[in-house]
Every structure is written in structure tokens, then in C-alpha cells.
Symmetry: C2
Subunit: 555 residues, 2 copies
């Protein structure tokens, strides 16, 4: 009897995972992987850190070689072999050996598409100049690092302020390069809400990255064949190298040409078993579409974590057709380190949720990542987005110099299991001073959210306060001590320390519409809120997150 | 109209939390807290770190003072006021002012019991000698630190290898003290399973703590009024100070005398609203009983995290009688830092689960806490305990030099929301190289557990292998490279590197009952398992966790 044949197209995370899992499930399977690239199974998310020299050696980036796959698992990986066509009727793939140009074809019983995604390169003037890079493959990273190592890079322009762009900017800065980052949107980290993203942006600026937002790159100028200048709506910027990181698109050409259905996101449509619309053809990793667990709508999150999951599922399902594994969806959980600050997100942003017409409540709560008295504790800010009618958690964003991966993973876990805010407040999380506050940041944020949902407190976001500041119908009362206000306060603030508020509340101008209470993180402002309520004040709001989370001008 | 009166007994975490929350819910409430201690609202879990000088100043330990409570919240705290009696019929508490010996009584409308717990001091010979301490109050910590600061402590004996004992041992060691720790049980960290606890124990020994297990302290000898020697079944140990940390008991005397019901654990019985059996009397924090969420049985976990939660709930419920808050139970989640190692636990241990007669499956899976190629990544080992029939997660233990608080919190969150192992494998956790592996340690452990539950792999624990080694009916085959085995291997091992296994499997002695496959962490052993299966071998098992997690003798 002939062996069952599995062909996998693509050999980074999802492809190799699918192949390995399938081979483990059926050691008699004949498994072949084709990739047009030279490198396989590499750590795509590590590329910026190789440029920065944080990851020192090339071989650290490449997890496993074709030789290892052959020896340990009897999997055949063909590098520099491009699949040019898939025929789903004859169940064949057509392959070009890129070294010899030889044309080959192979039959499959099962096919896994894992072609990944490619960086967008817009048709800008002179975009084909040398030293204009994208960062997707190991080769890209090697070339950029070699230039930096050779001392050829004094100035760099990064186009795009998403995760990769910011990581590249940080890593180039580590290497002593002068970095300008140009972002089309009003702030970096476009998937995040403004008040969170602005905190990250301010930190990047503090660290010396020249960040320019709401501006557009128009084209490039060269010095001979090498780029020398970036032309933008904000003027020209000198550059020895340019790194374009304006996004990626799924590699779906051969799939589409084979009649395999694409989804609304442009990625390959799959069911929860990773099956395409064509029998025996699966799609996994960055070329496949996802479902957003919150909205239940198609979404596309090209993430290494999801690639590993979908690869493993397809690897199981090509073998165990009676016991298929499945993935209902993902939350689009993401995280990024930016110098000494971390930012993470899961589920919907406030902007996403409002755009979708959902009736939501949001809150922003500062805390520390460890016990406030344990050395090395650092601040983080948690933003929760909750559906008002059900109290279901729709999303969260966490930012700060402290630990954010733990709380975002707690919330992502809770969301996957359909938690309400109430559930978060009851979690029995691990507490000892080196690890957490006794009441963890997540529980604190959930408690404040419940106070807000139950109308025990009324708050205002920094964003809305910015709007209100345009007219003068607002009293800003800062209840911190005088010396704290002296360091920084919102312009136009009246300072009445909490301890004196009961006696001095008469100083608040009652002709103005609203009283905004401000303190460092929101705790004293909440106590002030209760005091003023008791005194009969009516239109009072606490500034969410206090001065610590206020990303706009202070004086 | 008279103000409603709330009396709280106890002013550490739970008591102050209950008072604050109640006052916020009803600013007109008259709130009095009585405590026989001098210090209030202090960080009990920080005490060992104050001794070690990690927490430098006394005032860092004390979160808030009575003056602050009065000024900010109009809460009256009476320090050095001992409540000697509660009369639930007349709704009165009887109080002794410990400074003046004045006898006072106060009426309450609602009463919250938050008396905490006290360290056990067994009636051993000469236990009242000076410099024999327990560590529960701020005063204990001050006294021990003062002695160390004064250079009076060269040798210390810690009695008890639970969390506090180990933390004290570490912190005294930091201060240059020679530390001997004596534990009655066969290993330190008694709540953990043996193979996990032994890893912690070995680390403590590596760091120079003299750990003695399965031995009993018999009494003390003095040099004048000061302790000088600890007498034990393992011999005598010189000691300038002794720290007893053999456990705590709930402070329930005045409750029991008032006719308030105690639970089977000896702590005060409460319902999920923190109500005792007596109307208008609540109990919170360490003096109150908990429910274990896994078993649904009464349990007692005197933890700061739970104290904060129960305090807050009672604080709400004394005011909002129509909208009571509740806590269904806890998981007993705990965590400890031991020098460069961290250990955490949630839910049931394997031992707990087996003792309860549950049909379980367990697995031990090593991983790294960050991407394996990102600098600073460190190993952790995850043990999962799962109910075989339902795949429900019953418990987890995680240990290693890497980050353990994040994964234990993910698992605790999942368990609270009734997750099955399958759910863990699908979690969309935050991934970037500085924070996690692409497939996080938790997902990996859950995947291996599913393999085991689905009979795709058969494994053996290090504990069971230890048993088997007593006879010779076992082939241990280590599939690592020769140079790896050279560094350390289990005695009697045959080394056949994975890549040569197909050719060399004939070397395995088939007359012996079982083949145990060993590698560094278990991955190569799994591939070897599949190869041998294919070759017709039958009784094969993979050593869980590999050599990395093997806590017994190697050569």
C-alpha cells in the first residue's frame, strides 16, 4: 500500500508545526514541505532584536534546520522550492526549484497551505532604491544588521508605527542610530485607544525617537543607487536606511488561482477545523483567516501564537479525520516592549466597540505590578471595555513600565471563557509581595468598573476632558497635596488637598457646569467625590487614571 | 436619627478593607475599628523582606495610619484596644484599653470580625526563652531585624519549611546569617507534590541553607534568658535566634464564646456573603473559613489576597443588604520566591486529589518563560492535575527560575471559570519574544496532557521511576547526545542518541519489563517513543520533565 502523502507549502511556524504534528500522529505519513525561502522554522518575531544585537547570533534565530527535521522526524523540507500552482482536481502541486529552475510536480492526499504574509510595499517614487527594507524574512534582518555593524547607518527612517515599526525603531536606537518614525495615523500603535497609545508615544519620544504622526511618506530620493532621503508631508528626512513597516498582506495568490475561497479579510477562508472550501486542503498561520471571539466575525490576526495553534490543529486533522481538533476563534491578543515600557491589548478597543455600535462602559485604572512596598514595583494602567447590559468583558489594554503580559493573559483567559466583570473581581490570583499587590491590578480595575456600572462613581476620560477644556465650563479640582501639584498639574487647576476639602469646598465655582476631580491615580479623587456628593454637589466626575495616566499637556 | 453603627474587630487587611468599603458605600455610617495591636493596615506578607533588608524602612510596611483613616474617611481606629467579649443579643462589644486598662463597651448595628490568625507556639521545653520568635506582627519583624542589624545573629534555626519559614531562611541568609531549617514533613513546601518540592529544596540547599527534613524539634536550651540551642531528633543546633513558622491558627476565641458557629476547619463558618450564623455579624480575612472551589468543601486559606476580597465583600454587605456581594470560593492559590527560584500552586495537588479518591491524570512539562532565543529566558516546569473523566483542571504547580506567577494566574483564572484542558490549549495569550514562547508554557503543558489523556503517549513520573529503580526490571534509555549524558544521567542509563535510535534499538534489553525514555525535557524522548512504537516495542514510557526536572540522584 502506498503511503498517505501530506504536502505543506511554507516552512516557518505554522507549516512546520502542521507537518510535525501530522507526522507524530501518523509516523507512516509521507510529509514534504516546500518553501521558496532559504531559511525555515525561524523566529520571525525575533528579527527586530537581532538588528538591535539583543539576539546576538544568526543561528539563534533559526529554530531547526531541514537536516534536523529529516533526522528526527523523517520530514522532507525542500528549501528554495517555490510552489507556483496547485491543482485541486488532480491533487497536485507544481514546484520550481529556484536554484536549477527545474519544474517539478508532486501529488498529495492532503495539502496544508502555510504561505504566510508579505509586507506591503506601496508604489512610492523611487521605492526600489537600495537600503529601503521591509522586515519579514531572516535575510532582511541579516542585511540591516550587517549595514549597522559596518557603521554605515547614522540615520534611519522607519515608516509605520505599528509593533514592528516601533520595535525596529527601538533596536536601531540601541545601536546608536538616529531614528525618525513616520506614522500616517494620529498616533503610533493604531490598534490601541488614543490615551493609551499616546503614553507609549511619549515614552518613545523620551527615549529619543523622533516620532511624526498624521503625516504621509511621499517618496524617496537616492544618492546613486542608495536611498538618501525620505520625502514626506512633514518635509524631507535624511536616511541611510529606510524600514517600511506599514503592514502585511496574506500570501493567497496560488490559493486564489486554485479556486480556494478567500474570506472578507482577504485571507484564506477556513472553518474551525482549518479546512478550506476545497476537500483535503487546509490553511493555517498568517495566510488563513481567523474569527474574532468577541464579535464572532471574520478577522485577520497574523500572529506567531495563532500560527502555532492553527498549524497544530491542521496537523492533527489531516490524520485524525474522525477526531478533528478545532479553534473557535482568537482575541487578537498582542503585546509589545518599547524600551522600558510594555503595552498589551486583547479583544476590542473602545474605538472598535463604539464603531460596532455596542453599548459599552470603559474604565482606566492605575496600579503597581507588585506590592507597592516591594522594591522594583512599577506602575501599570489597565483599561477595561465592558458591555453595559451583560457586563461581559469585550477588551482590555494595559500599558506601563511594569508587567503587563500577566494581567492581559489573565483577562484574555477570562474573556475566552465568557467572563463578566464580576468574575474578574473574584479571581484567586497568586499573591506574594515580589509578584503582585494583595489586590491585583486586574481585580482593582474590575472593582472600579463595577462601581462605574453601578453608578457609584462618575468618571471622565482624559480624552473627554481634553474636549471639555476647550470651553471654560469646567472646574478642575486637584485634591493632591500642594507639593505634588507643584510638579505638574492640568492647566487651570484649583488645588484643594483631600484633607482640607470638607472645609474648603466653598472655593469651588458653582456657576461652572462640572467639577472634575483629579489626583495621582484616582483613589483620593474618589474619596473627594464621595465627600462632595455628601455636601450636595451634583455634577462631579473623577479623572480616570489621574495625572499619572494623563497623556496631554500639563504645566 | 441616630447613625448606623459598624464595628470592626481587627485592623490589618480584611478589617480595614471592610471598614473602608462600608464607609464608601454609606458615608453616613459610624465606623469604629478596634485592634489590640499597635500597628494597623500593615503588610504582613512583607515582614520576611523587612528582616532581609529588601524592604528598607519600617514605614514602608505600614500602609496607612489611624490618622489617615480619620482624615480621609472619618473612620475611627482604636489601637491597643482589645475586644474581650461580644454580646450578640445586646449587640455590644466589650473592650479593654490596653494602655489604661479602662473597660469600655460599644453598641453595633453591624459587626465585622477580622481578628486574623496567630502563629502556633507548641508547648516545647524552654519555648519561652528570649529570641525565640514567631513572625506575624510588625513588632516581631522589628525585633528580629534589630538583632540582626546589631550583629547579634550569627546562627539561626528556622522551624518549619512552609512559605514563611523558607522566606525567613532566605532573608536571614541574605544578611549573612548561617541558617538551619528543620521540617517535620519529608520535604519543604508540604502543600506541593514531592517532585516539585524537592526541586525547591535542592535550590535552597544550593544557596547554603542547611535543610533538615523528617525530623522534629524537641525543645530549646538557653544561655541565661536567651536561646542558645535547638534540640531535635537530628541532634542539637546552635542558634542565636529561632524563628518558629510551623503554621497559624484562626483567632476565634471571642467568636466561639459569643456563640458564633465555627466550621470544620476551626475558622469561623460563613456563607458566601461572609455572614456568620448570627444576624448582622460577618467574618472576614484569616479568621473566616473558605470554600475550596474545586472540591466545594470547607477549607481554610489564610491569605492576604483572600482577606482583601472577603473584607471588601463584607464592607459592601453591611450596607447594601438588598444587593449583597458574594464569593463562591477560592482555589488556595499561593506563590513563593526562594532566592532565584519561584514556586506557585493553585487548586489541588496530585496528593490531595488522590487522597480524595479522584480519578486523575497528571503531567509535568518543562518550558521556558520567554522565547528560547530571547536573552534572559529561564526554565519553568508546569505540573497539571486533571480529572480523567471530565478533563476538568483540578490543580497546577509551577516551579523554576523563570516566571511562574503569570502561568499560575492563567490556570487559576481558567479553573475559576470551569475550564477543561482543551480550553487551555486554545487560549490566545500575548506573545512577543520578550514575554513568552510563541506556544506558551501553559498551552504546551495542556497539549501534552491531552496526548496523555488520549493515550498518544505514556509517561512515568520521576517519583514512580524512583520506585521502579529498586528492582532491575527497567531499561533506562537516554536519547540525548553523548556529551549531554556525560554531564549527568540517571544511574544505570543506556545512552542511544535519538538520531541513531532507529539503527541501535536492538541494543535495548527486551527481557526487561519496561523501557523508560529520557532526554533533557521530554521532547526528544517523545520522538523516540514514536520511533520505538513503530518498531513494535510495547511497554515504553517517557520520563516526565526529563533530566531537567529529575530531583533525585544522578551521576
Amino acid at each position: 500500500m502506498n503511503k498517505q502523502k501530506l504536502i505543506v507549502i511554507g516552512a516557518v511556524a505554522a507549516g512546520t508545526k502542521a507537518a510535525s504534528k501530522a507526522k507524530r500522529e501518523n509516523p507512516d505519513l509521507d510529509v514534504k514541505i516546500f518553501t521558496k525561502e532559504e531559511h525555515i522554522s525561524y523566529a520571525g518575531c525575533g528579527l527586530p532584536y537581532y538588528i538591535g544585537g539583543i539576539i546576538k547570533e544568526k543561528n539563534e534565530l533559526v529554530v531547526r534546520t531541514p537536516e534536523i527535521f529529516k533526522k528526527e522526524q523523517d520530514i522532507d523540507i525542500f528549501i528554495k522550492h517555490e510552489v507556483t500552482k496547485v491543482d485541486v482536481n488532480s491533487k497536485k502541486v507544481f514546484v520550481t526549484n529556484l536554484d536549477t529552475q527545474e519544474q517539478l510536480s508532486y501529488e498529495y492526499d492532503k495539502l496544508v497551505l502555510a504561505m504566510g504574509a508579505s509586507p506591503i510595499k506601496p508604489p512610492l517614487e523611487n521605492i526600489s532604491l537600495k537600503n529601503i527594507f521591509t522586515l519579514r524574512s531572516v535575510t532582511d534582518a541579516f542585511e540591516i544588521r550587517d549595514l549597522v555593524d559596518a557603521g554605515k547607518v547614522q540615520k534611519a527612517v522607519v515608516v509605520g508605527g505599528g509593533f514592528i515599526g516601533l520595535e525596529v525603531a527601538e533596536n536601531l536606537k540601541h545601536r546608536g542610530v538616529e531614528v525618525t518614525l513616520i506614522e500616517l495615523a494620529p498616533h503610533v500603535l493604531p490598534p490601541f485607544d488614543e490615551e493609551i497609545a499616546l503614553l507609549a508615544q511619549a515614552h518613545m519620544k523620551d527615549k529619543g525617537v523622533n516620532i511624526i504622526t498624521s503625516e504621509k511618506v511621499l517618496g524617496f530620493e537616492g544618492n546613486g543607487e542608495f536611498v538618501s532621503k525620505v520625502k514626506s508631508t512633514a518635509g524631507d528626512f535624511e536616511a541611510d536606511i529606510v524600514v517600511l513597516s506599514i503592514g502585511v498582506r496574506p500570501n493567497v495568490k496560488i490559493a486564489a488561482e486554485a479556486g480556494i475561497e478567500l474570506g472578507t479579510t482577504g485571507a484564506i477562508k477556513v472553518d474551525k477545523y482549518m479546512q478550506t472550501n476545497v476537500g483535503d486542503v487546509f490553511a493555517v498561520g498568517d495566510c488563513a483567516e481567523n474569527v474574532n471571539l468577541v464579535t464572532n466575525l471574520p478577522a485577520w490576526y497574523p500572529m506567531g501564537s495563532t500560527s502555532n495553534k492553527t498549524g497544530r490543529i491542521a496537523g492533527n486533522n489531516v490524520v485524525n479525520t474522525e477526531h478533528m481538533d478545532s479553534l473557535e476563534g482568537v482575541l487578537g491578543t498582542t503585546i509589545v516592549k518599547l524600551f522600558d515600557m510594555n503595552a498589551a491589548k486583547t479583544g476590542l478597543s473602545e474605538r472598535d466597540a463604539r464603531k460596532a455600535g455596542m453599548n459599552i462602559e470603559t474604565i482606566l485604572v492605575p496600579a503597581t505590578d507588585k506590592a507597592h512596598y516591594y522594591p522594583g514595583n512599577k506602575p501599570i494602567i489597565t483599561k477595561l471595555i465592558v458591555e453595559r447590559s451583560t457586563h461581559k468583558i469585550l477588551g482590555a489594554e494595559i500599558i506601563g513600565s511594569g508587567i503587563v503580559d500577566k494581567p492581559i493573559d489573565i483577562i484574555a483567559t477570562a474573556m475566552t471563557l465568557n467572563a463578566r466583570v464580576e468574575d474578574l473581581t473574584k479571581l484567586d490570583l497568586a499573591y506574594a509581595p515580589p509578584f503582585s499587590m494583595a489586590m491585583s491590578s486586574t481585580i482593582m480595575a474590575a472593582n472600579v468598573m463595577l462601581n462605574k456600572l453601578n453608578s457609584k462613581i462618575d468618571t471622565i476620560t482624559s480624552r473627554d476632558l481634553q474636549e471639555k477644556l476647550k470651553d471654560s465650563q469646567v472646574n478642575i479640582v486637584d485634591v493632591r497635596e500642594e507639593e505634588e501639584c507643584f510638579i505638574s498639574a492640568i492647566p487651570g487647576t484649583l488645588n484643594i488637598p483631600l484633607n482640607t476639602l470638607s472645609e474648603r469646598s466653598g472655593e469651588i465655582d458653582k456657576s461652572k457646569e462640572t467639577v472634575i476631580l483629579v489626583c495621582k491615580v484616582g483613589k483620593r479623587a474618589f474619596l473627594a467625590y464621595l465627600k462632595l456628593k455628601q455636601q450636595g454637589f451634583e455634577n462631579i466626575k473623577v479623572l480616570e487614571g489621574g495625572i499619572n495616566a494623563y497623556p496631554y499637556n500639563v504645566e
